[in-house]
Amino acid sequence: MRDVAILSFAQTPYKRRESERTEVQMVLSVVTDAVEKSGLPKSDIGFTCSGSSDYLAGQSFAFVGAIDGLGAWPPIAESHVEMDGAWALYEAWIKIQTGMCNTALAFSFGRASMGSLPETLNMQLDPYTLGPLGIDSISMAALQARAWLDQDNHTERQMAEVAVRSRKNALNNPDAQLKGDFEVEKLLSEPYLIEPLHKHDCPPITDGANAVVIAAADAVPSGANPVWIRGIDHRIEPHQPGFRDLTQSPSTKLAGEKAGATRLDIAELHAPFTHQELILRDALGLDDDVRINPSGGALAANPMMVAGLTRMGEACREIWAGRAKRALAHATSGHCLQQNLVCVLEGD
């Protein structure tokens, strides 16, 4: 395997509604920013891959317009996954491994504010036996949360503590959407959204875009501050929630093992719901001295199709700031943690 490093990360400020810029302008800003920070000339980028979803935009081929934000002239080697940007990064990493290119750009974008996300995500379900029930994404997560609470004396307080810590951490993240000092007691006294989930257990709806530039060791420009991808792997599980043990995340566990997720200082976990962070920590065997989601995580900002790749960016920020040496970044896709990606990152 070739050694590959993340050179730069850029994002829009994550917010409930991006009302100043179109998708393509969001893409243009993050791509320009990420390329500039990488120290590579734009013409040196050997491959580009993006992640997004047509259903967020409410139209077919929504990603095609994003090309306009790249200045793709002369034509570029480019691909797109209908997945979170974390998988775009994976494809870009693969491309470098083939030797066909030495540098690559991965980006993602989503404007969830246009629609009603919990209902849009119903469209992700088996269209024969699940989708037609009309079940939304929060209800699906609530079924998982209940299964988790039913086990090992788990409590809603543990979940609320995740929310409190996430939003407190987000105070240090200028780009986060939800932040502040909250009290567990007060949160627990508020009404349920979908029982057993309170509002604080759920992610906000977010608009945003982000981009990373990666390079093989021999293409890292001088003066760069590379964060090395020590391992990256992703796995999927059966779709039907009733076919799995929802309290476990075997796909995360396996991906973590394959990616070599040990000796970590911090972990950025893509856990849109509080209980999912606790399931993921368990699956990855993260003990208490691993700092979790210093950025605030998906509970502080959850741009669909973007939040997974954001975890890589946030892990890099911790390493660049000297607050961590070795970090884990995780991304999830689908309902109830169906598909998971783990990336292990290390400073120079």
């Binding site: 119903n122 036996t129 609530a142 079924l143 979908i194």
Partner: protein, 148 residues
């Protein structure tokens, strides 16, 4: 910053998708119309409900269908205090994972119960059938507590 007026409009994506079913789901929905619930049985005895054409763990083809339920046990549940337009009820209700008698896996469906205090993991539920059944998952209107 733009000084243009704000142009905003509703965009509705509406379509009635027509989904062909293939042999396994066709039998499942046909029998559902007759108030029977089928699951797929694997050679090692596991029974998948809703039925599948393949083993979700290995991908191997499966084609043996057996009747399960109709009653079952709630393995997880969630209480909806304020239903959405797409939900099957316009009053509070529960979503549940239900392991039907004879099944190895759980099925997602709605449960009509008096309130969250009436719900409990491990409780027994039975289907309430829709009056008009056309062969679809909502031929089961919902499940309800056994003895209700």
């Amino acid at each position: 910053m733009s000084d243009a007026p704000r142009y905003s409009a509703e965009h509705v994506l509406r379509y009635d998708y027509r989904r062909s079913l293939g042999p396994v789901l066709a039998r499942f929905f046909t029998e559902l119309r007759d108030q029977k619930i089928l699951g797929t049985q694997a050679p090692d005895g596991r029974v998948f409900v809703p039925p599948v054409e393949y083993d979700p763990e290995t991908g191997e083809a499966l084609d043996e269908l057996i009747e399960v339920g109709p009653a079952g046990t709630v393995t997880s549940w969630a209480w909806v205090h304020e239903p959405r337009a797409q939900h099957p009820f316009d009053r509070p209700f529960a979503w549940a994972l239900i392991q039907l008698d004879g099944a190895t896996t759980s099925l997602v469906h709605a449960v009509d119960a008096d309130g969250p205090e009436a719900m409990k993991t491990g409780m027994r539920v039975k289907p309430r059938w829709s009056a008009e059944r056309i062969g679809q998952i909502r031929d089961i209107e919902c499940f309800e507590p056994e003895g209700a």
